[in-house]
Symmetry: C2
Subunit: 715 residues, 2 copies
């Protein structure tokens, strides 16, 4: 390990350069200024100096050592090559002299008004491997650093990796290894391996620089020549922005939890706009809250009724009893601000804004006004433009949809109402155990990081699955995710991955969807499991909480169908897991249970015509051997071992193992006639994640559990 | 277009070189021999000549033009660089002379027994873009040519593309463009674009060479220096194999169809081993044939019974009436050969070998013996080691599983019995209309290309979906697929894609799974749609036949859920389709039907609270506008437009459009409570491919239809 880079930075030198640029109203630094920044932060650059005459250029070149590179220095010329302002490989005093004059002449011709400070004479570096190290300011995540293999790999294949700045040394090393062609760094075609520590060192130093000086909007070290002994930034480019966007509002963890506790476990709820008229949202909401079994007080607010759905109604929330934690709004958008004023005075913690007609229809001002009212009263807003929210531990269905009561460990959130309805339907259809379903809609206030903070410490929640189209504050989300992931899986479906999808998101919520590669790298860095699609979000949300965490990487397939074994093996590789190399003694033990023409090894192919006992013995063996960490079962429907017989025996073996303190993740793929559907459901109920007619889905879910377990540091 | 390369080849020159190598029992050619081959087939190589003394080397170098490269020439030294036998950049007579002596000295030291023929003096070529062009002999497909971008791109990223040899000029151009980094060829970092025609020319010439001379097992032109004006192969390597594997047996199309017609539409079936004992395979088979409704004659063969399942039994097939087309075998493996002898004499066309205990349990000899009997009698074998086969147009369920009777256009085949059961269960659960389900098992005889040939011309079949772990004769499969694809989609799930999967396949069937990249490129070249997993094989098989073919690339999303619109857009890109740029007049027309805050453009976001009429008008508009070629619908469950109302209105609009002669592919994603499941089924029954709780699946299926339509030349 090199020395800790943060020591010994010359911040004053950087400050001076930036202050001068700001005073001169410049948006970029000159090369010599860039060099000052690099040197102040210990980023290696080639030896160089500024020449203001051809003769000075010659003497500097001789001093630095020939060959040299000559580059125009002018605050008014950013694209030096385009201006004919760069010459390389100057290997004699004559060449240097001639180049100086050509460069200055070209620059004058290119931009007659340009202030020319001279020509920079630079040691010519090269050889080794070209890489790119940079930093930029992402609209979602703020400062991020980027690493890429230089040349064609970056330009054509976009082979780059992003990390949130500041990066630790460890992050930076992982980032370097994260590019697809990272193997190039280990030396190919006879080349020497690059010292990755040196690259990580440059990355951390640059990330510290842009973190310490937020006005550095972009930094480009391109190319950096990396070798076995060093990494030298041959060219530097810095873009400045002295008017950075305002940082999003932040609440402390205590503030968030204080509000969320009251919102998810309210003593009393007021329904503003509760109605007796069937078909109205205000009617659906009160029916669902009451019929859903919520045990707290329910106060309908309706100026024209004495009673709504059997409960005493109040003309205004001001007239209702005290102790109201949540006000659900089921009134038109234009009346929300006024009613919220009263709710704020009443001391509610949360306002659930079901109505649409705010930012999503262009009414951004109305939404801002409502938020201002909320902030004045310390009320947190959920929505607007949402279906509401569910929290099953409180039997709370504050929504215009239908109640949901299957309790379980999964908390789901969605930015879109349509996706919320899919969550509800899928959950009901599969009896998914849910702690919460929350619509966040326009996210005028409460967003994913608030919810993550709450669910992360909520004992009723074991896994969190979120659909989102953007993040208001990517950095706050990453911080919340990092805090939660060591305890619970966080699954994210990021819609708008593709440019077409992002454009659709733009027309939908006005959200600017960031570059997906930035999201992908940074969410992964935060330990988030990304769901590639809606179905996976739902499946992961359903399955992850019922599986125990694996304690090692040894996955074993036990299958009655050889054909399934092949497909399951493919899926294991596709999902980033590894088939255990079965040790000889364990192989021997498996072989004792299977026919001579069955195949031990991995998959363990017990063959198709076997009785229940063969499945039972081999599965028990896999569970009991401590070197095996996860099982994938492939079942083949036969008359000898019908589907439900298989399901029951597996459930029994697993239950017995758990009683003996053995709990490993098990997934199953069932091939057979339609009875395998009921068998799969039986297995799911007993903690075995099972699917009919697919070899991919069970393995994909196990892969998601593994991705989480690795991110959580459990492996 | 350049001139047709096949003209003007000097085959005699190649023949002479190869004959000499064969006579000398050599497995590789020397560089000068390689050059003879290249020149005989018009592959450009650098100027070069053989020097047998240092002085000769100098005069040749001066003649060819300095600088030159010098390389040892010895049939006993294959790895010249390793032997110190290569020097480059020799730019003076002195350097050439010294290099000659060093090279010969090094070669002697490296291998004192090596026969040294001299040193080759070669023009030094370089610059431009380095690419690799090669050919190899694939165990499945025979001769294939490979193209790759040189250097790191091939070595680290394996960025190569394969094609079956011989390639046409058009194939070769597509192959060059098929590499991920092909953009490099168009010039990056200021470089000039490469002439792709020149590369295609070298590819076709090399592919002709290896096709004309099958004993060339491998050829490597590496590097080839490609530029704007030419492509020169700087180094050549040829590996020979004078004992190529025996070509697989082939039947003519007429022979195949003659046999298959009798097998799928038999006048009479004999069941050898038919039994009255419940639980026995021979009992299940006769029950399924009879109960399934097969209308032909059924003759149980059983030496110990007078009658089986109500039909007169015969002691031997010889005793049964004539006109038997198919014999189903339900007897132990060891009795099969004998019974097949009798069936052969009886003139059956096909023997369906259900029993296991052949190659898959190591009994390859027994399997070979059975095949020999079949060949002697002109009987085609299905299996052994299979569940049997179904052909619904004949109400034929010749299997030990259960009958299946939902007729439709999909023919499914599987190499594995487990996968066959998944096909059966899935089909029954989803009411998939099926023409055939066929197990091929060990494929001792009938394989996928036989079935493809039959189903390709079978009027009862509209789409073919095949699970396979290997191809016995990849070339025959490609030929069959190319013939069928212009009329019907062919979907393939190739198991054993990954090395782990291939290893599992190895232990399962003894099949050698080829490199997946070879399979992938060549199946795509043949127009086959590859299913990434089992579930996709089943979904594609179910959905493709019910969708009409698109006639253009303009896809439009109409959605009630903005959130679904974003995810559907992502899926469109993921699946290689493009969202139509909606022309202003059409945009205007959509806008007339949707709320002012809805978003036209594409997706057309009609917003969530709209009545049935809004869905109806916008969908009708999309169907009726001839510029729109396919529709993707996103439904959001609301009280205003409940799921079944949506499903019925869509079915009605589609039915009306069909009556008016408009038939476009339409898929739908339904987000909502559980009623969306019945609504999706209703839509499917009316020719709209619809799924609940997923935005990915419907678009993936549409993407598969597009991939087929492009391959079929319909777009």
């Amino acid at each position: 390990m090199a020395t800790e880079p943060s020591s010994g930075y010359d911040r004053d030198a950087v400050r001076a350069v930036l202050d001068r640029a700001r005073a001169e109203n410049r948006g970029a630094l000159t090369a010599p200024e860039g060099k000052v920044l690099a040197e102040a932060y210990g980023i290696p650059v080639p030896g160089e100096a500024l020449a203001t005459s051809a003769d000075e250029a010659v003497s500097l070149a001789v001093e630095l050592g020939l060959p040299v590179v000559a580059k125009i220095v002018s605050p008014d010329i950013l694209h030096k090559t385009e201006a004919g302002g760069v010459e390389v490989g100057l290997s004699s005093p004559q060449e240097v002299k001639a180049a100086y004059e050509r460069i200055v002449g070209n620059a004058r011709a290119y931009n007659p008004d340009a202030a020319i400070q001279g020509v920079q004479i630079q040691q010519m570096v090269g050889g080794g491997t070209e890489v790119i190290i940079g930093a930029t300011t992402d609209p979602t995540f703020g400062k991020v650093v980027v690493f890429g293999l230089g040349g064609v790999l970056v330009e054509v294949l976009k082979d780059v990796a992003f990390r949130l700045a500041p990066v630790t040394r460890e992050d930076a090393l992982a980032q370097v290894g994260d590019t697809r062609a990272a193997e190039v760094l280990d030396g190919v075609r006879g080349g020497a391996a690059v010292d990755r520590e040196r690259l990580a060192d440059v990355l951390t130093r640059l990330s510290d620089l842009v973190t310490d000086f937020p006005e550095i909007a972009e930094a480009d070290l391109n190319p950096v020549f990396a070798s076995a002994t060093g990494a030298v930034a041959a060219d530097l480019r810095f873009v400045l922005d002295f008017t950075p966007p305002k940082a999003p509002a932040r609440f402390t963890r205590e503030e968030i939890l204080g509000a969320m506790e009251r919102i998810f476990k309210p003593r009393a709820i007021a329904i503003i706009g509760a109605s007796n008229e069937a078909g109205k949202i205000g009617n659906s909401v009160i029916r669902n809250i009451v019929d859903g079994g919520y045990a707290g007080h329910v106060y309908p607010i309706n100026p024209k009724a004495d009673e709504v759905y059997g409960r005493t109604a109040y003309k205004s929330i001001a007239d209702a009893p005290d102790g109201i934690d949540v006000a659900v709004f089921a009134i038109p958008a234009k009346f929300v601000a006024g009613a919220l004023e009263e709710a704020g005075r009443k001391g509610v913690a949360g306002a659930v804004l079901i109505p649409s007609g705010f930012a999503e229809t262009g009414e951004q001002e109305l939404q801002d006004e409502v938020l201002a009212v909320a902030r004045r009263h310390g009320v947190r807003l959920l929505g607007p433009n949402i279906y509401g929210y569910y929290y099953t531990p409180q039997s709370l269905s504050a929504t215009f949809c239908t109640p949901y009561d299957v309790r379980g460990g999964t908390a789901l959130t969605s930015q879109s109402g349509g996706i919320g309805m899919a969550i509800l339907g899928y959950s009901r259809s599969t009896s998914t155990g849910v702690s919460a379903i929350v619509g966040v809609g326009n996210k005028a206030d409460i967003d994913e990081d608030d919810l993550l903070t709450f669910f992360g410490q909520d004992d009723n929640t074991n896994a969190i699955a979120m659909h989102l189209e953007d993040l208001k504050d990517g950095r706050a989300f990453v911080e919340a995710a990092r805090e939660v992931v060591p305890r619970k899986p966080v699954v994210v479906l990021k819609a708008g991955r593709t440019s077409a999808g992002a454009r659709a998101a733009g027309s939908h919520t006005g959200a600017l969807a960031g570059d997906d590669k930035v999201y992908d790298d940074i969410l992964r860095q935060a330990g988030v499991v990304r769901a590639p699609g809606l179905n996976e979000l739902l499946e992961f949300g359903r399955a992850l909480p019922i599986m125990p965490a694996p304690t090692g990487e040894n996955v074993v397939i036990i299958t009655g169908a050889g054909g399934s074994g092949v497909l399951l093996s493919d899926a294991v590789v596709d999902n980033g897991m590894t088939l255990m190399e079965i040790p000889p003694d364990l192989d021997e033990a498996f072989r004792a249970f299977i026919p001579p023409f069955g195949a031990a090894g991995n998959p363990v192919d017990i063959t198709g015509g076997e009785p229940p006992a063969t499945y039972e013995k081999t599965i028990r063996l896999g569970l009991e051997d401590p070197r095996v960490h996860a099982l994938i079962l492939g079942y083949w429907h036969t008359i000898v071992t019908p589907p439900m017989v298989f399901a029951e025996l597996v459930a029994d073996v697993v239950t017995q193992a758990r009683a003996a303190g053995i709990d490993k993740p098990i997934v199953a793929s069932l091939s057979g006639d339609t009875e395998v559907e009921a068998a799969s459901a039986h297995l799911f109920r007993h903690g075995v994640v099972a699917y009919p007619y697919t070899t991919e889905k069970p393995v994909q879910v196990l892969g998601a559990k593994y991705r989480w377990a690795r991110a959580a540091g459990l492996l």
